[in-house]
């Protein structure tokens, strides 16, 4: 008889091994799925994981990994702070949108002036936009005790309507022949978040993501606020006795994750994407939740997880094009990753025992 036995202490080995085992299990079951669809399984897995990194055209895909991974890491770092303290910001997608709108709006307000100070102003506006949007659930929670999960999630849809509105009105390109969408910031030097070194994919958003990783690491391990965050998540009662102010923590965590999501949106709209349009957001804010958990809410883990997610996206597109795998199969594959991660997570706190329960 197989049964689960609670471990006296969470297993440190399993905690580290879980992501790797989950990736391996995803490869195996993903391979079976692809085989069932009549596609060569090994070739498909190789295309997804190997081709972007070491394939013939990896000189193009490697920089793209940074472009795709940076917003995921930046947002996930912010989310992980709150998640550790049991504060659930599910609305990063909305904060990402608002950051992009504010950042792009600040830049376009100066058009066609060229000046060095425009981009920094856009960065600040982007962060503030995301921060302000996250303050709505934060203040509602601290003042009225509303549920931040629901409020932050619902505000995503409000932000999407807002995005549609500015694409069609306030920020619409006056030279766009009546079509929705803003001017392309890639064509506006002062506002363009260009690659810092051509061909490397390295733009300011990637730099910001790396800084955020270091910052979060220091905060969590060397700073009082980080200690409070961890304490609140692990032992809420103890945190109270230690003098943690829950309201301030909510404001800090939601504000921080909102600002980082806003920054991600701003760097995206001024760089790789280029313009505000109705379909500007592509789900980074939601995918970042997966990235945060895949990275065990640890800054370095998130960095690696962001890279892995980016890899499955880019590799997934290559597999679609080269092997004609349906997009839905790739999505199932990505879903498996989270599923297996959560499933194997069980082994951190439980162990599988075979035989009858011992009599104590």
């Amino acid at each position: 008889m197989i049964r689960l036995e609670k471990r006296p202490q969470p297993s440190r080995a399993w905690s580290l091994a879980t992501p790797l085992v989950a990736v391996l299990a995803t490869m195996v079951f993903g391979g079976l799925l692809f085989a069932a669809l009549g596609k060569p399984p090994v070739e498909a897995i190789r295309t997804i994981f190997w081709e972007p990194l070491f394939g013939e055209f990896s000189f193009y895909y490697r920089p793209q990994l940074l472009v795709k991974g940076a917003p995921l890491v930046l947002i996930a770092i912010g989310l992980s702070l709150g998640f550790r303290a049991g504060i659930w910001n599910i609305g990063a997608e909305g904060q990402y949108i608002m950051g992009a709108i504010c950042g792009a709006g600040a830049g376009l307000a100066f058009y066609p002036l060229e000046a060095f100070y425009i981009f920094p102003i856009m960065v600040i506006a982007g962060a503030l936009g995301g921060w302000a949007w996250a303050m709505i659930p934060a203040i509602l929670k601290t003042r009225f005790g509303t549920n931040e999960i629901l409020v932050s999630l619902m505000l995503v849809y409000v932000a999407e309507q807002f995005l549609a509105s500015v694409s069609l009105g306030l920020l619409k390109n006056p030279e766009g022949f009546g079509f929705p969408g803003s001017r392309n910031l890639q064509a506006y030097d002062s506002a363009h978040n260009a690659e810092l070194i051509a061909g490397t994919g390295m733009h300011w958003g990637v730099v910001a993501a790396l800084i955020a990783v270091i910052f979060a690491y220091v905060l969590l391990n060397r700073h009082m606020t980080g200690y409070h965050i961890r304490l609140t998540g692990e032992a809420p009662r103890a945190a109270k006795f230690a003098g943690v102010n829950p309201a301030r923590l909510v404001l800090f965590c939601l504000g921080m994750s909102g600002a980082l999501a806003g920054l991600a949106g701003m760097f995206e709209v001024s760089g790789p994407s280029g313009q505000i349009s109705i379909d500007f957001n592509v789900g980074y804010g939601f995918t970042a939740i997966i990235v945060a958990f895949l990275g065990r809410l640890h800054p370095v883990g998130i960095l690696l997880a962001g890279g892995l997610m980016a890899l499955t996206y880019i590799g997934g597109d290559i597999a679609q094009s080269n092997l004609q795998l349906p997009a839905a199969a790739i999505q199932v594959f990505q879903g498996m990753l989270l599923f297996f991660l959560l499933a194997f997570d069980l082994l951190t706190n439980f162990r599988i025992a075979i035989g009858k329960p011992e009599v104590a």
């Binding site: 055209f57 193009y60 795709k68 094009s321």
Partner: protein, 358 residues
Amino acid sequence: MKLTKLLTSAAVALGLAAGAAWAQDKTKVGFVYVGPVGDGGWTYEHDQGRKAVEAEFGDKVETVYVENVAEGPDAERVMTQMALEGADLIFTTSFGYMDPTINVAKKFPNVKFEHATGYKRAENVSTYSARFYEGRAVQGTIAGHMTESNIIGYIGSYPIPEVIRGINSAYIHAKKVNPDVQFKIVWAFTWFDPAKEADAAKVLIEQGADVILQHTDSTAPQAAAQAAGNVYTFGQASDMAEYGPKPRISSIIDNWAPYYIARTKAVMDGTWESVDTWDGIGAGMVGIGEITDAVPAEVKAEAEALIEKIASGDYHPFTGPLKKQDGSDWLAEGEVADDGTLAGMNFYVEGLEGDIPQ
């Protein structure tokens, strides 16, 4: 920093050379789709066009596609990837792919690009679109006759010229056969979202609409109309014949196959040039699906006569006298709208209620 730059550009050059070298024997055609190939509408019809290219040229072509590609950097990456992998011709089938297409085309001067429904062209970028408003004129005529409540519902996708043109054309022709007709327009802000489209259809039906036109791609409004009973609909982008003979009483079918075959042929022959194509019923790019028996015979005959007149070029759906919604003059008696105005249309014609969302 300089060294890195040098190395990268060398690598890019190598990659391009390699990409071009092994693509010689077969012509490789790439398709970038905004939705899933099984959407039963817009993307489905583009994929039918791709299959027609394969059927026409057999071993001489290889086609590849990527579906569900988000507009923006993802689209740019997918196009670049196709070009790197040796595509000779790439069809990018959504308006939002416009700037990405231009960006990638700059990097690959030897690859030809075809962008659907946009207005930016280059040496190696053509644009193409269909005059769907011709089909809308036919729908408007049928809808004006069929409505009992005199309320026609319209599910708009995005308030862009393409969609506004369709609303205007349908309204003008519904009004012509039924002066009491009224349009209720709901904006779904999506091209494909069955849940939202179903909601929009239900709202319109509750408001008394008994004919529903849609500019979104799923069959959800058809299903909603079927559930409601006495409501008529039209297939959009694809025939949607499975909902006939009622609620679906006709349809607009996008027929890209002839164009895709012609353009692929041009690449094979080396005669490809950058062009701006805007074809309608006459050229076969816009097809009208079978008008079912749920439509009275004389209405059907009237609609068919209209199709005939539009196809032959005897009649243009935007012929004066027409006024704008604000009452100002647009087209004088007998005057025909020019393509420039139609391409950027951002106003309603007189009689339509409500504002275009801003």
